[in-house]
Assembly symmetry: C2
Homo-oligomer: 194 residues x 2
């Protein structure tokens, strides 16, 4: 069981940040985020998520035309912006990732809809592990889905055949840029005990 | 920054469990899991995930016909099985959940594809927060997507109009039921620095 402080860091006091302190995020930290993220569970260990880390001004400027107006300035200002993507051909790696069942790859080559749903569901689970891992390492995050996925795919992911899922700014947040915390659904609005 | 022990609990030593110690999970613990889960970020605070907690033999027996053969026994044996679902009409709650933009609901009523993608993406992010929250509270999890979604929807979710995403067994794991840890992709296989 984690401490109350740790639960605060991960959930209760974690916020989606819009402004960033002038403090860089090292490549070593990005590697640590990934090293935690990759250990989270996925269906048949499919691990479809892929991550592009945009660190330079040049990389950010290639992203800018795909951003919604409300996401532009905070993204250009963030130390790092991650493109959380997934590989629709994730199943090609299953002989390595899921060695105890050599048939696993064929479940997905035989069923395109299952492959698409598995890639999106499990790539998204890993996107959430990424958010929590970054917070666990002391960073703040600003996840966003307000952007043009096709533009991002064409600009950054065409060579690999990957697809964008969402974006996530990374850095050390400036709390003066936060909005007020929005309400959440009560247990009885979102949960049923049977 | 969390302690190394906490990172182990959440990520490095967290495993998908198949066998369970004879130790119940209280309703209070289920409420604590939800109280943490709901604080994780979602797009426009949309919070589309819904959770059904199957605690009784009777509820489990209604689930049984929908389970793949490999998931049957461990699910029937788990203290609690959660149906991680989402509400396709999540946007009806946006006037409460996203009070600083009264237009938010109309983004989704005007665009069915956007509503469907937003429900599935953000409901899945919340499913991952749920997994991490359960581990943070000292529980073990066994998430599964090997089941018949339509059967689960028809049996459990028709009245609410919700849809099933994945299942997650909850309890205190018996490590003798674990498979060997499967390999993960190296940083350079899954990540690109730009």
């Amino acid at each position: 069981m984690l401490t109350e402080d740790a639960l605060d860091t991960l959930f209760r006091e974690g916020r989606s940040h819009n402004a960033w302190r002038d403090e860089p995020v090292s490549d070593e930290t990005l590697r640590e985020i990934y090293a935690l993220t990759r250990m989270g569970p996925t269906s048949a260990n499919s691990s479809p998520a892929r991550f592009l880390f945009l660190r330079t001004r040049e990389a950010k400027e290639r992203l800018a035309p795909a951003l919604s107006s409300g996401n532009h300035d905070k993204t250009m200002a963030a130390p790092v912006t991650a493109i959380i993507a997934y590989d629709p051909k994730f199943h090609d790696k299953l002989p390595t990732l899921f060695p105890h069942n050599p048939e696993a790859r064929s479940w997905f080559t035989a069923n395109e809809a299952l492959a698409a749903t598995t890639a999106f569901r499990n790539g998204t689970l890993q996107g959430a592990y990424f958010i929590i891992a970054a917070r666990a390492l002391g960073l703040d995050v600003g996840p966003m889905s307000g952007f043009d996925n096709d533009k991002v795919d064409g600009t950054f992911l065409a060579a690999q055949g990957w697809r964008s899922n969402f974006l996530c700014n990374l850095g050390y947040g400036d709390p003066t840029g936060l909005f007020a915390r929005s309400p959440r659904l009560e247990f009885d609005e979102a949960c049923i005990l049977l």
